[in-house]
Amino acid sequence: MTASLGLLAAVLAAASLLVGAAGLGVPDPVILWEVRAPRTVLAVLVGGGLGLAGAVMQGLLRNRLADPGLLGVTGGASLGAVLAYYWGLAAAVPLALPLGGLAGALAAAALVFALAARAGTGAALILAGIAVAAIATAAVAMALSVAPNPFALAEITVWLLGSLEDRSWRDAALAAPVVVAGASLLLPLGARLDALALGEATAESLGVPIAATMRIAALGAALAVGGGTAAAGGIGFVGLIVPNLVRFGVGERPGALLLPSTLAGAALVLAADIAVRLVPLQQELRLGVLTALLGAPLLLHLALRHARLE
């Protein structure tokens, strides 16, 4: 499963280099290396980060609806990036953009995990998370409405739905270390998540430090989502759909989902980013539109099949 998802992501990454406004096929080297390559790398980083963060959050919170977008982490990252970008901080200090995204994601993640510790029930967590997400989304819209640049409000779709249009190596270089740091925190959590699947008391008796694991997971998810969102805006559904899709292939064990979800997340965002370039519009469709359109029906199909099997 992992190998085939890796192959799928690699094939899609190659296809991503051959698709664009300049036409299908191998383009001029400048277009290939300066436009399509950074875009492809960013799609892998953003998608991988979202898929992995989704898998970890679902394992840790023992809730299949836990998703960085649904619970406000992506919205928080968008807000942090928007505040850092439109008021000139990112122009003065380039690192301020991913750090702004990280700070917003971290605040939202801390809130969600604190709510998880208190909520008791999965439904209460999801409700609280949706409230956090709604506040973050409204705050992004508010910030862009009062931003000093006249184009800011039109760019609301980028921050709420995500786009990789015309990103450069600068964007990829800023996002990469943040996302990779997040992934290096999250990927080793597999064994702890497996133990947590048995319940917190059992996990604790197996020697899993619950509070420390929560903190590492929150920081890792904030890094993995925040870095990518600062470069591409908030792409929804990836963190929700991907782990649920991967479960059909690799089973329920949370620890086994992490690497396949990373690869599948990258593949889904790559596929969406190829699709937005194939739709002939004057302005590209936003990625969130495609991730939902591609991912949700697949999830629905598998969920219905799953229900029949049971």
Partner: protein
């Protein structure tokens, strides 16, 4: 709505209606001018301009004490060629509650936005001059004369029109016709029949835009078929993704020759448009 009409916050300033509508607006301007002509022996003393393009004519032609107010964008240096002057003059939004207390005796409006307040002012006996779109130098000179007549400054207007026409005629012929693309935020491009197109022609250049009216040229397509000169008008203001595109590193790697001009030169057809043509001809 035209295809370029989506989510472009330049709505208030960029001329982009189809030409037919522009001609119709132009007839209205001429009609208004007739109405104005009779009242013109007494010069209007409280002039209100409710449109950025009109602001630039009014500032060029009217003495400061006679200008009661300009439009809000007049003082924005990234859009207005008269920002420094306008900073010293009162500015109002084109809404009745802000305009009426000024008790204007002449209001100059553009093709958008102020239709309701203009009708209201007319009902109250205020002379209203409606300016259409200036998409070439003939239209600019025509509007210049119309505004000058309404202001009772026909001589000043004629002198300015003659000097602009003389400068235009004196532009050096281009040694070789170069394909030039005017690339604005988000890859928004003025094609044939637009004001920037007229500026390029006046400068002896060829517009590389593959369409008439306004449209988009994406980064990849620009790189796949680069123009001989890429003209952008960077605003010095706060950042946006739309404008960040204009400095994408791939443009430097492709070594496309660049010219950066003052964004206020192309926002409106006016006395300052000549400066854009002169700068591009060099």
């Amino acid at each position: 709505m035209s295809r370029c009409g989506r989510r472009i916050p330049w709505r208030a300033v960029l001329p982009r209606r189809p030409r037919r509508a522009s001609r119709a607006g132009w007839r209205w301007a001429a009609l208004a001018l007739l109405l104005v002509a009779r009242a013109a022996d007494a010069k209007p003393a409280r002039v209100v301009s409710l449109n950025l393009c009109a602001d630039q004519f009014v500032v060029a032609l009217a003495d400061r004490p006679r200008i009661a107010a300009l439009s809000p964008l007049a003082a924005d240096p990234s859009l207005s060629a008269v920002a420094a002057e306008a900073a010293q003059i009162r500015r109002v939004r084109p809404v009745a509650e802000e305009v009426l207390p000024l008790q204007p005796d002449l209001a100059i409006v553009g093709p958008w936005g102020a239709a309701r307040v203009a009708a209201l002012l007319e009902r109250r006996g205020v002379v209203v001059l409606r300016l259409g779109l200036a998409e070439d130098f003939d239209a600019i000179l025509g509007q210049l004369r119309a505004v000058a007549a309404a202001l009772g400054e026909a001589e000043r207007g004629e002198a300015l029109a003659v000097s602009i026409a003389r400068e235009l005629a004196a532009l050096p012929p281009s040694p070789a016709p170069r394909r030039v693309l005017v690339w604005q935020a988000r890859g928004f491009v003025p094609g044939r029949g637009t004001l920037p197109d007229a500026v390029l022609r006046a400068a002896g250049l060829v517009n590389a835009a593959p369409f008439a009216g306004y449209g988009f040229v994406p980064l990849e397509r620009l790189l796949a078929d680069p123009p001989d000169l890429l003209v952008t008008a960077p605003a010095a203001g706060p950042p946006s993704l739309s404008e960040a595109l204009l400095e994408h590193p791939a443009l430097a790697r492709a070594a496309i020759p660049r010219a950066r001009i003052d964004p206020a030169w192309l926002a409106c057809g006016g006395p300052q448009t000549m400066r854009a043509a002169a700068a591009l001809a060099r």
